[in-house]
Symmetry: C2
Subunit: 445 residues, 2 copies
């Protein structure tokens, strides 16, 4: 009767989003939002009588999604045959198995394709474990003791900034009030902001219309993409400021477009319109560059969606390079590494404002911020989760936004499961959506 | 009659080196040295009447080599059908094509599997271009004008430390004397050091015997792996020091084993035996950590074989974190990105001592140090290329070491070509070497 992981399915799923210029920015002109998706099948029964499953994925923007799928496939031996109770009870062990494989580690270490693949598989295991426990991931995490949570973290390379003892102290300090905060979260939801008005490919009219709609929908922060042309950005930011008024925050996002001097010059030009933060002004690897941008102009600095791992986040904090830490649920090694990053941010007193959007990133990352509120930082002051209204219809338990806030998920798991029909339709290259697109392209030649 | 790249072959090649513990260190106990190997075939004639070819590869240590091969495969569209003369004449254009593909860039950016794949393909194009010109790569590079060399570099994210104008000034300052240095290089070879005595899996007797042999062979520097156990390391370093005397340098290499405080404590214990440098004391991503290790103990600090890209090297230099820059020919985006790193090191006055070994890394990287000597830094003072006597027999134009120095390659190209028989024998999983191993494993059950 011991339950085990019996199968490990990998899917290359792509959505032809480049047709609408949704998601267009200064560095990513034509993304096809994609997921390298993994399903852990088991012989353990769930409520429907089928086997309980774990779903996870990496987000990519099109080409190369097959490389991610190959990297996930390389992790198959660690999962197939693994007992479900052991997996659910010791996700720290699985994390170490996946990231300490010495041969696979050479391909990073702990960065890029191989590390994101470890994250996808780990997140699938978290989905499985939370379903096994009958709880949404945020609540599953928030029900653990400080000692259990600390055992999930890999402190290698962190101890000059955060020791296990310090992490334990942070978590213990947040123990009183966990129940009250969980209750408040269920009642009020978690603050969100929206990027939907601000894609670089949108016209001024569409920008203004969507900005006003966002405020009408209850959002108190929006975000614009910048970095194409400084005069365009000044005009667009002025239009947006005029549309939303002074009471609504407008963040701007350069998607790594600049060198340090460019960032300082550009943001000095945009500063009169009071941008809330400048996001990804330069390379995500450039810790000292971010520190120089922060020191060189008046706007607060945010980064993280492309930061490779906890070691780089540690240094961004040590160097005083960022005002906001932007975790991403699917770039680092899953819940475990994001737990380390939440603890680092708490240690340094820097708010965490997650990156989301893409495919399913909102669904995943909401759990991490909600857990942070209940059991780590204990506050949502100055914290917001990004929201983008793309592709949620493909998920079985999609994000729910009410009055500009994320509603706390109630269903067991990580909200990661896509509808089987969505998977079937968008498999690349053989799914019907892509077959039809190829037929159209051939017809138009 | 225009020559083009007609085919793009990708091979997963693995050598079962884990059987001997060659290459064993504190983080990599059982590597199977491997290459994800690419061949650019063309319809341009070479001297033998066949089509001129470009060969390149990434080095891995076994599992995951198939993921690297998939990443190389993703770059196929940029090469097939590409004219050879255009490729040879503008390797800066190819570099930008491979690393600026916005969808593929998402998988890094500029790090890990996808970035190493770009490096393999770029290096294959450099092999092709140098053969097209009838010169070894070091000489092909050293024959370019400063302006041509600067056009090969991507200065994005570098300009706060190195501008194109500064790079030009460095290269112009080294123009006088190029011919004399090339002549001296051909006559004397380039200084090398050897890691062959020092693998962690070797017995004390083997260590002492190989250390003495290295000195007898003319090497003036050897290297030991450390980081398993401090008492063992003190004993091994003392034995090695006793074996080679005080006139020979002994570097030590921790392969990322430590946190900052561990590194400081461990190296303080080893310092009495006068190690020349401590290599990879901690995470290759930890710029501030390296700076703290350098400040906290007396031994000089070296790193680079796992440094992901030019942006991280820039910061290691800006932060004063390293005494030696250890480039690797096959981890960053090929010759182009290594040219940027050589220029950064020259700007900061830090010697470059390349990482080599593995499969074919000696063959490749010798060209970069020799070019640096002739046309960038203009000196080999305090500079040595690593040498490991593994697997050279598989290369058509293998590294030649004489009296502890690399002999300047004379054959056109990048010395990257493996013997067809070696490729056929070691293809994974279908090559006869691996089939035989599986048969042996089945027999021994």
């Amino acid at each position: 009767m011991s339950q085990t992981v019996t199968d490990f399915e990998v899917h290359d799923i792509r959505f032809p989003t480049s047709e609408q210029l949704d998601g267009s920015d200064a560095m990513n002109p034509d993304p096809d939002y994609s997921a390298a998706y993994v399903v852990l099948r088991t012989d353990g029964a769930d409520g429907d009588g089928g086997g309980i499953e774990g779903h996870g994925f990496c987000f990519t923007i099109g080409r190369g999604n097959e490389v991610m799928a190959a990297a996930i496939e390389a992790l198959r031996p660690y999962l197939t045959g693994r007992p479900v109770p052991r997996t659910a009870a010791d996700l720290g062990e699985l994390y170490r198995d996946l990231t300490h494989d010495s041969q696979l580690r050479w391909l990073g270490p702990e960065k890029g394709v191989m590390h994101m693949a470890a994250g996808a598989v780990l997140n699938a295991a978290w989905d499985l474990a939370a379903k096994h426990a009958g709880r949404p991931v945020w609540q599953f995490l928030a029900g653990m003791t400080p000692e259990e949570l600390v055992s999930l973290v890999d402190f290698r390379y962190l101890t000059d900034a955060l020791t296990p003892e310090e992490a334990l102290a942070i978590l213990r300090a947040a123990e009183p009030g966990r129940a009250e905060r969980a209750e408040r979260l269920r009642a009020e939801g978690y603050p969100a902001y929206t990027t939907s008005p601000g894609w670089l490919g949108y016209s001024d009219d569409k920008l203004v219309r969507l900005a006003k709609e966002a405020v009408a929908d209850g959002f108190t922060q929006i975000k614009l993409k910048v970095g194409g042309d400084v005069a365009d950005d000044v005009r667009r930011l002025a239009l947006a400021r005029d549309a939303v008024g002074t009471g609504v925050r407008i963040a701007v996002d350069a998607n790594q477009r600049w060198d340090v001097a460019d960032a300082v010059e550009w943001m000095t030009a945009l500063a009169p319109y009071d941008p809330h933060w400048i996001e990804e002004p330069t390379s995500p690897d450039d810790i000292l560059g971010h520190a120089a941008v922060r020191a060189g102009q008046p706007v607060k600095v945010a980064t993280g969606e492309h930061v490779a791992n906890r070691v780089v986040f540690k240094q961004l904090l040590q160097a005083g390079a960022v005002d906001f830490v932007q975790i991403d649920a699917a770039r680092v090694a899953g819940v475990n590494e994001n737990l380390a990053i939440l603890l680092l941010a708490a240690k340094f007193g820097v708010p965490v404002c997650p990156h989301a959007g893409g495919v399913g990133l909102c669904e995943l990352v909401q759990h991490l911020s909600m857990f942070d509120y209940v059991a780590v930082s204990g506050t949502w002051e100055d914290r917001v989760i990004e929201y983008v209204d793309h592709l949620h219809e493909h998920f079985v338990d999609p994000t729910v936004i009410e009055s500009g806030r994320y509603t706390a998920p109630a269903a067991p798991g990580f909200s990661a499961r896509m509808h089987p029909e969505s998977i079937a339709a968008h498999r690349y290259p053989e799914g019907p959506v892509w077959q039809a697109r190829r037929t159209n392209e051939e017809d138009s030649r």
